[in-house]
Amino acid sequence: MLKIENVYKTFNPGTVNEKKALKGLNLELKEGDFVTVIGGNGAGKSTMLNAVAGVFGVDSGRILIGDVDVTNLPEYKRAQYIGRVFQDPMMGTAATMQIEENLALAARRGRPRTLRSGITRAERESYREQLKILDLGLEDRMTAKVGLLSGGQRQALTLLMATLQQPKLLLLDEHTAALDPKTAAKVLEATEKIVQKNHLTTMMITHNMRDAIAHGNRLIMMYDGHIAVDVSGEEKKNLTVEQLLNLFSQASGSDEVDDKLVLG
């Protein structure tokens, strides 16, 4: 479903701030894969996701979604294949627009925007049903401005928006990191529900090792711009945090373990 072939990306090349973020990244996802991605700060996790989403171009290499080479497609065109939830709850929704308007915008992802009505009565009914899945009471507040919602509610809404129009690929960039533990658990639960229900090919970055083990059928660990550990199937199911830390220090060739990686 997703193929990343030998991708390189350097930020601020030729300056003192030069940062080689991706160094020959290779990854292939099968249809229906739910991959959790971990790694220390600066390992290239977010860069990988943003490169796939088209936030910036890559220096070399290819990115394919299904059979389509999207390497040179602008972000808004790739959006027809990709659903996204960001780390920052403010980023995924339009605060000054209503809940139902946000959903209606998302429902038209990948379709031309014409002079037809921006939202129809039939849509409203279906949104009401879908909002019930989130179990946050949003179905009774459909005309409320999104800016009135809490961070957790906004993340849950963004998640629904990302999957309203079935994406070929769902990208979750630490989408629970900015939430308190209870809320984070609830959003994660909704994520699991929605991914299962729609059999979505998903990549989820997380700082929490337990979450990374508990969710998905495959786990990758990034280090220094490439994939250092890749476990799946039975091996992944039986993984412990302890083993994961060992794998990490083997891969990175040091005993130092990033605090951020363990905590979170």
């Binding site: 989403a53 602008p74 972000e75 808004y76 065109k77 959006a79 027809q80 990709i82 996204r84 960001f86 403010m90 980023m91 995924g92 929704t93 339009a94 605060a95 000054t96 627009m97 308007e101 946000n102 209606a104 915008l105 998302a106 038209r108 992802r109 990948g110 379709r111 925007r113 014409t114 002079l115 037809r116 009505s117 921006g118 939202i119 946050l136 809490s150 961070g151 957790g152 509610q153 928006m161 990302a162 308190d180 209870k182 809320t183 609830k186």
Partner: protein, 309 residues
Amino acid sequence: MTTFFNALPGAVSQGLVWGIMAIGLYITFRLLEVSDLTVDGSFCTGGAVCVTMMVAGFNVWVAMLAALLAGMLTGLVTGFFHTKCGIPAILAGILTQMGLWSVNLAIMSMKANIALNVNNYDLLVSLRYLQDVNKGERPFYQHPILVLVVFTAVLIAILYWFFGTEMGASIRATGANENMARAQGINTNVNKVLGLALANGLVALSGSLLCQYQSYAEINMGRGAIVIGLASIVIGESIFGRVFRNFALKLASVSLGAVIYYIVVQFVVSVLEIDSNYLKVISALIVAFFLAVPHWKSVYFHKKDKKGL
């Protein structure tokens, strides 16, 4: 005081004309969240095109349509500078505005002003019609206030419809959150250009009405338009903001803001007898004050963010 009351219908008419300009500005300032300085130029473009067309013998509606299209073109230029050349929106607007000075002069055959003799043309609105209706020489439905209220209401209805469509919603989303818009497959550059074109079309339309109302087009007629437009927006929002939540009503409050602005101006000039030369500095200070209020509120009356679900 009597001069003030006598001049009131004129002030209201003028306010309604500028109100359409302010509605255009509202689209860029509040929906797209850019300060578009093109308007100082495109307002005059509208007037220049309208007068030139009418002098050349075209019907008033054709002339106004041409003004609208010319205004949209100026927005297109600013949009091109901004999205395709990567120039910050404010600077892009200033560049277009400056260039338009020459273009507007050229449209008016290099003359600084062109008169439009009221007796020779069928106009939509005119200061003269206002006097004629009062004297009973014209039917009441040609009263500029009535004509302009209907005209504005129709415009608001069209805009209300448009911003409810898929296309209109994309423009609003682009202004509200570009990241979100792109993630939902919206081409934000195209939508910015679209919004700028639409806004400047309305601004030029307003310019075409003003030149009819005052019977001439003049190269300086748009100078300071952005400040008058912003004043109308902030006055309208601060007076009606709590009551008018609906989008159509918000646009109406902008128009009402312009009317109030011109009534206040009339009051300042004819009752307080302040030299009209000081109007610009007074307007600038009023706008600065109202724009500062939200900032002061957030600094001095800061509320803690709520957490959790």
